[in-house]
Amino acid sequence: MSLLNGITYGLLLFMLSSGLTLIFSMMGILNFAHASFYMLGAYFAYQISTWVGFWPGLLVAPLIVGAVGAAVERYGLRRAHRFGHVAELLFTFGLAFVVEEVVQLIWGKVAVDYRIPAELDGTLFTLFSTDFPIYKGFMMLISVGMLVALYALLTRTRIGLIIQAALTKPDMVEALGHNVPRIFMLVFGGGTALAGLAGVIGGNAFITEPGMAAAVGSIVFVVVVVGGLGSLGGAFVASLLIGCIQTFSVALSISVTDVFALIGVSLPQGSQVARLTITQLAPVLPYLLMVGILIFRPRGLMGARES
């Protein structure tokens, strides 16, 4: 059961981070606004679902998000790019700010009632007396479908091959005379559309509210960094790994004292460290993992290159 939960969560993380990996590796941009596009996806889908239902939203919302992303690249990032990486990064930083405010302005500060469609509401199967909801199955389906589509796109099409080449050797592709700015715009648009798609299916599984971007903002960086630059496969493995780590560490009821006892260190009784349980630590474990990875293997799990 924990494994299933971990995989579902991991797959959602992957949907978010695949776009970021593309953007980060190709353009070198730490897109701080990536999670904002995830949020926009959820809100657009909500808005569309109130008009014409969930299914059209599933298709249309990511496209709109992608268009917004492409416009942001064209009219904002491209200009910031001239001033270097820090300026680019700060641009996305500011963008995240503005997106959150605008979302609050349009849809209000409270969560919106974005619901799971009736046909997906229910139990898929019951395992060890715990229900597995249909919607989670649907989420898995979509993310695996996206993974397959992305893989096909990257390995079977010309533009995909260029993008792949650009992931590992950005200078080379430019030298070969490809229209790099246009590719950048496409990649940024595509990457944000993927985030938008994650928002569409994540928004109703969880909660669609203005803070949702901030909640996942830094964890996707962890995934990308742990997975390694330029590696979609790495991002995939890292997503699942982090999903499972979080889930399993919650399931374990042991304390830090026990862990240290395993390696033969006994902590002073009653100290604050000894009191902690692994469950308490669960949500910060990914950061621990990231720092560890960066120190001992800066390329990430499957990274093609260092930063």
Binding site: T8, Y9, V110, F132, I207
Partner: protein, 412 residues
């Protein structure tokens, strides 16, 4: 942008210059988040205070003929900013402040008010707390200059555990909470009180998770399910609560959730149908408590401010009690008002609120209610347009939540 800045600087300075006390008003500074992630709660609170002041005080003669007015100061949820805003309010002649959101901000404010009053005995300030529930605020840190109009965590737990004591269906309890002071306190009181009152109940698990960082509660729910718990006790609020309930419903967990904040702004909407017959809350009031005038007040309020739902009866209580104290003392001097508030027994719509002198903690009736489908009878009104509303399960009389205090108050 620059001109905007100059403009606002000019405005701010002029505001500071005319500040003083030129208005024939009793002004209370409302220091709470009005921007940022918690702005919705802060904004709703401010509207509640303004409405209550207008209808319950000003339209009934005001305070010695003066109007009561609430002015918002945005502390952005930060303890440091709270202190700056306090200074700003004092500069503009405010002698009363109120704050409710965030124990951190409340601690900061009580501290700042104590220090200010000690250093400026001729310009004292009084702090009305309408929602920060950390028991230490009326316990070890209690202050003559602080009054709390909400029941604190310990009192609420007393009421909940009394209710649990009588319900023989409860056999296994799981505690889950946010990993910070409030979550720790809820866990602590749950264990203490249940072992005393119902030693047969087993606490089958206790988990703390970092606040606002968990996206998917499924693993926690799986653990709760595995523990066989029939009851879950949680102090969670906001998204941490809504997500918990949603995950529980997804996994088909059949347990009842005792909560502190399930009725809080936005939460009913976020949990929606997932919470039906599963979520209980403890409040001083809800829409389906039969009352004389509050029901109408709430309906009018909801109509006037679409998107905001009347939630805090204690705001109304506080406004009336403060007005009463000022009228009794025939003064708007903070010290005189404080003395008049002490031991004040005030009849409100749900019974009586008593401001205990020894720790400045208000005692009031409380209600335990469950989230149920609107049926027009026991659930006459739904909550936040969800089709579900609160159904009273039990009434806790003012006496039933009273606990002794550890407060040793320094009095001026």
């Amino acid at each position: 942008m620059k001109s905007k800045f100059v403009q606002s600087l000019a405005l701010a300075t002029s505001a500071l210059l005319i500040g003083g006390s030129a208005f024939a008003q009793v002004k209370i500074a409302y220091i709470d988040p009005l921007s940022g992630p918690f702005a919705n709660v802060g904004d709703a609170g401010l509207k509640g205070f303004k409405e209550a002041a207008e209808i319950l005080v000003n339209q009934k003669g005001g305070i010695m003929g003066q109007k009561l007015e609430f002015v918002g100061f945005d502390n952005k949820g930060s303890p440091q900013e709270t202190q700056l805003q306090l200074k700003a309010a004092i500069d503009q002649g405010f002698r009363f402040v109120t704050l409710g959101n965030g124990s951190g901000a409340a601690h900061s404010l009580i501290d700042a008010v104590n220090k200010w009053n000690a250093r400026n005995p001729d310009k004292t300030v009084l702090f009305f707390n309408y929602a920060a529930v950390d028991p230490t605020l009326t316990g070890e840190k209690c202050s003559f200059w602080h009054f709390r109009f909400d029941a604190n965590t310990e009192m609420k737990m007393e009421a909940i555990s009394n209710f649990m004591e009588k319900d023989k269906n409860i056999k296994k309890v799981f505690i889950i909470g946010q990993d910070y002071a409030h979550g720790h306190q809820v866990a602590k009181y749950t264990k203490e009180m249940l072992t005393k009152k119902r030693p047969d109940i087993k606490i089958v698990g206790e988990d703390l998770h970092p606040i606002g960082r968990v996206k998917d509660f499924a693993p926690y729910i799986a653990k709760i399910k595995a523990s066989g718990a029939d009851t879950v006790m949680t102090g969670n609020w906001g998204n941490d609560l809504s997500l918990l309930i949603k995950a529980a419903k997804d996994a088909g967990l059949k347990a009842r959730f005792f909560t502190y904040y399930a009725g809080g702004l936005g939460t009913p909407q976020a949990m929606g149908a997932a919470g039906e017959n599963m979520v209980l809350q403890l409040t001083e009031w809800h829409m389906n408590v039969p009352t004389k005038s509050t029901e109408q007040f709430a309906l009018d309020f909801n109509k006037k401010y679409p998107g905001i739902w009347f939630y805090y009866l204690r705001v109304n209580n506080m406004v009336q009690m403060v007005a009463k104290a000022m009228n009794t003392a025939k003064s708007t001097d903070p010290k005189a008002v404080a003395l008049a508030l002490e031991d004040l027994r005030f009849p409100v719509d749900t019974g009586e609120v008593w401001m205990r002198k020894s720790d400045h903690q208000a005692m009031q009736p409380l209600y335990i209610s469950i989230f149920s489908k609107k049926d027009g009878k026991a659930v006459k009104h739904d909550s936040e347009g969800t089709g579900y509303g609160w159904k009273t399960l039990a009434t806790v009389s003012q006496r039933d939540s009273q606990l002794p205090t550890s407060c040793i108050m320094e009095r001026p």
